[in-house]
Amino acid sequence: MEAELDTVNDADGDQFLTFILADEEYGVDILRVQEIKGWGKVTPIPNTPEYIKGVINLRGTIVPIIDLRERFQLETKPYGPTTVVIVLKVVTEERDRIMGIVVDAVSEVYNIAEDELKPPPNFGGVLSVEFIKGLATIDEKMIIALDIDHLLNSDELAVIDTAGGATN
Amino acid sequence: MATILAVDDSASMRKMVAFTLKQAGYDVVEAEDGQKALNAAKGKTFNLVISDVNMPIMDGIQLIKELRTLPNYKFTPILMLTTESGADKKTAGKQAGATGWIVKPFNPDQLLSTVQRVLS
């Protein structure tokens, strides 16, 4: 299913697609959003961290799916009808990768100008500041703008992987 | 615009010649040996023939001889592509009826100026 997006038009700035995760609203650069799919069957991959649910077939390409709730170690929630997979283009040094993130629901598209993004305080723990581009306030809501490239960088995943290897 | 028949069994040379001349606005037909060139020449009358000498099936000298027997090609300029050490080839070529020669290696400008010289 493809979601219809309402865009709030503004003069300058980047557009962000926002989504809900455990009652928080996060945003990703809309230029990185390739498509939005409903949640479907995923093939699990052995010996990978819990938050990597597995891979799916996206028109012939194998795409890994990451559950951000588990990634951020939030309380897990069973997948429901609004559960959605956002397919993103992740840019790394060597090449571009396609990855999907599971979120509770998709919200809006907002224009956020550079100066509207405030630097985040150090949350500590899993939500490292590297993953966050900044915080913005829109309509009295706080939006956490994510840096996909750092968040979904496979080096990151590999680092977590070796740490989590002992679970076997 | 004038039409030119470019003959050489070396694809890279042939293409370079064809490209250079096409850029200058000439129509160019390529042939990879003397026999194919002769066939092409029989089908269409070219304003100029440029041919390498050493080719399989039919070499340049033979090609020139054959061309000169065709009524349309009695006075057509035919240029040989020769190397500087091929003195005997020049003689043989002239005896066969060649107009002149272009010495290899040549750069595109040299090729063009010679062609323009002959076709003006």
Partner: protein, 685 residues
């Protein structure tokens, strides 16, 4: 106008390498006594082409080098020089040098300049030894330009028939200065006797200005021999001069240099100034493919059929208001056609990447020739099945392993002529390379009639290295397989032919990486045969689908030995940890895929499961699965594109229902499972 020549470079490189190959084949034939003039001529032509092209495209050092080769070949084809073994060998060495030079230019790789220099010197020395006085330099004194030139130009009647036109030449002269022309009609016959194709006119020309004699002569260069030409200086201040001087001045024939060879020092320098492309490509890997036009036509036909089937199917969807039996059958037929079209299209496309193995086999005549003289052995190379096709990438990667095996056969297999005669064999050993299709694979056999394996020596060496136990006895086949163990070489000296015993295991590793297998059988005293099996293509796999828990996995068919129902009583536990299954006389380790892949759902006890006996890297193991599903050809999709390499998994595929199934890396899983069982205690289910 400046034209970017680099667009022609790739074509030039391709055709030059082909030319070098044909030169090599020709020279080898020549070396075996074939003094066929056509052969020498074709070798000459190839060198000539490369020389011409490299000169044109600015690869001066290559042009200079090949020029010397060409000169030598020219003498041979003119009969001025005898074709000798030394000459052929020197030319063969030169072919190698040119290959290196062209590769260096194309890829920016390093070049052994010394070798270039010494080979070129060798060629020149050979030329010099019978060379007469070389052509003299042009000794044209630059004549100071007079006030101009008086030119008497009398074409011979046939001049026009060379395509030369006096009017054109006069136009060119006019560009050098002020030109006055006076035509002489005295030779003109009456109209009825006139042959329009002949030239009866002659001219007196006065060219005023500062043009040099060379410039004037150049304009008449082409018609030398087709006319009478007198060029004399105009007296300064003189106007048109009617007098023609007595002295006949021939346009001097430009004397040519027969030795246009630059000395080695110069060629060394010029190599560095050559344009070399920035990219550094891995050896021999070309980004383009030559495809026979029949293959492309076949492809076009298949696509055409596919389009027809597709429109037929969509029409069924449109026309029909209600779906009745007839339209159902049409639909089914249409789908069958679609399946057939798709399959044919797939096969057709894969065939495009296929090239005959001759591309790889072609290097062996030369290799065997060189090695036999180096080793002092007589070897006859037989090639069969050169037309057998395989995937381009596999072809490129199988080259080195094949070379290694051939070297091995020549070095260790085939004996010296004396040894052979002593054994009652013929002096000349036979090395046979054979290729053919079998099943979905290509089989390559390398067979020699040499000494075969010295099994005692191998066994002793294996014991010495601890590869096998002191008291372990092995069957003949098992001993033969030992040569693939790392660090294994029974050569008494380390010959640099086949390497230092790092050879065989690397060869096997390379072949396995290509998805293939290699085996050896030996008949002591009689010979040895290596058999390589490779898949025809890397992208497709014949797989056995298995169900483990709720997931479907694909096990490569080529790795499956057999599948059987698990019988509880055959399961044994070793050291309280690892489990083994007794299969006839062997105990094979059991790998529980649920554990290996950390799958939670488990369906019942072992007894309900199936054991898929697999072999990876020479080791057997049994995978416990819940069910065997069908067998099918699967397309291998990469996990690494968007994710990364996962141990125990060699890739993924998309099943008919659109879901993803992981492909098991058999050898990897065996390794992984062994590591796990070594590190943790496992509970028996």
């Amino acid at each position: 106008m400046s034209i970017d020549m680099s667009q022609f470079h790739q074509v030039f490189f391709e055709e030059s390498f082909e030319g070098l190959d044909s030169m090599e084949t020709g020279l080898l034939e020549l070396g075996q006594g074939g003094e066929d003039p056509d052969l020498i001529n074709s070798i000459f032509r190839a060198a000539h082409s490369i020389k011409g092209g490299s000169g044109t495209f600015g690869f001066t050092a290559v042009a200079n080098f090949t020029h010397v080769m060409e000169t030598l070949l020219d003498e041979m084809r003119d009969g001025k020089r005898e074709v000798t073994t030394d000459g052929v060998n020197l030319l063969l060495a030169s072919v190698d040098v040119v290959r290196d030079m062209l590769t260096a230019v194309r890829d920016g790789s390093s070049l052994d300049e010394e070798r270039v220099g010494s080979t070129q010197a060798g060629l020149e020395a050979m030329l010099d030894s019978t060379e007469e006085a070389t052509g003299t330099e042009e000794g044209q004194a630059k004549i100071a330009p007079a006030a101009g030139w008086q030119i008497v130009f009398k074409p011979l009647p046939h001049l026009m028939q060379t395509g030369n036109d006096p009017a054109r030449m006069f136009r060119e002269l006019a560009q050098l200065g002020d030109l006055e022309t006076e035509v002489d009609l005295t030779e003109l016959p009456p109209l009825e006797d006139l042959t329009p194709e002949e030239c009866y006119l002659s001219w007196k020309l006065s060219l005023h200005g500062e043009a040099t004699r060379e410039q004037v002569e150049e304009i008449f260069e082409w018609v030398d021999g087709d006319c009478e030409l007198n060029i004399n200086p105009l007296q300064p201040g003189s106007a048109k001069n009617e007098d023609t001087p007595e002295i006949q001045d021939e346009v001097p024939e430009k004397t040519k240099n027969t030795q246009a060879v630059s000395d080695p020092a110069a060629s060394k320098n010029s190599t560095t100034t050559q344009k070399s492309p920035a990219r550094a490509k891995s050896g021999g890997d070309s980004g383009s493919i030559r495809v026979g036009i029949e293959k492309v036509d076949a492809l076009i036909n298949m696509v055409g059929e596919l389009v027809i089937t597709q429109s037929m199917l969509s029409q069924i969807g449109e026309d029909v208001e209600e779906f009745d039996q007839a339209s159902f059958e049409r639909l089914r037929d249409g789908l069958q056609d679609l399946e057939r079209n798709t399959r044919e299209l797939q096969e057709s496309v894969m065939r495009i990447r296929m090239l005959p193995i001759s591309f790889s086999f072609n290097r062996f005549p030369r290799l065997v020739h060189d090695l036999s003289s180096k080793l002092g052995k007589k070897v006859e190379l037989k090639l069969s099945g050169e037309g057998t096709e395989l995937d381009k990438t596999v072809l490129e990667k199988i080259g080195d392993p094949l070379v290694h095996l051939v070297r091995n056969s020549m070095d260790h297999g085939i004996e010296t002529p004396d040894q052979r005669v002593a054994k009652g064999k013929s002096e000349t050993g036979i090395l046979h390379l054979n290729a053919y299709h079998q099943g979905g694979n290509i089989v390559i056999e390398i067979e020699d009639d040499g000494a075969g394996f010295n099994r005692e020596k191998i066994t002793a060496k294996a014991r010495e290295r601890g590869v096998i136990g002191e008291n372990e006895t092995l069957s003949d086949e098992e001993i033969d397989q030992l040569i693939f163990e790392p660090g294994f070489s029974t050569a008494d000296e380390i010959s640099d032919m086949s390497g230092r015993g790092v050879g065989m295991d690397v060869v096997r590793r390379n072949i396995i990486d290509l998805g293939g297998t290699v085996e050896v059988t030996s008949r002591p005293g009689e010979g040895t045969t290596f058999t390589i099996r490779l898949p025809l293509t890397l992208a497709i796999l014949d797989g056995q689908l298995v169900r483990v828990g709720n997931e479907t996995y694909v096990v490569p068919l080529v790795s499956i030995v057999e599948s059987l129902q698990i019988r509880d009583e055959q399961i044994n536990t070793v050291s309280g940890r690892a489990q083994v299954y007794k299969l006839r006389d062997d105990y094979i380790p059991i790998i529980n895929m649920h554990d290996a892949f950390s799958i939670q759902e488990r369906h019942g006890e072992y007894a309900d499961g199936l054991l898929v006996v697999v072999e990876g890297n020479g080791q057997k193991a049994g995978f416990v699965v819940d069910d065997l599903l069908g067998q099918q050809q699967v397309v291998i999709k990469s996990l690494e594109t968007n994710y990364k390499r996962v141990k125990g998994v060699s890739g993924a595929t998309i099943l008919g229902d659109g879901t993803v199934a992981l492909i098991v890396d058999v050898a990897g899983l065996i390794r992984l499972s062994r590591k796990k069982s070594n590190s943790t205690l496992r509970s028996v289910a």
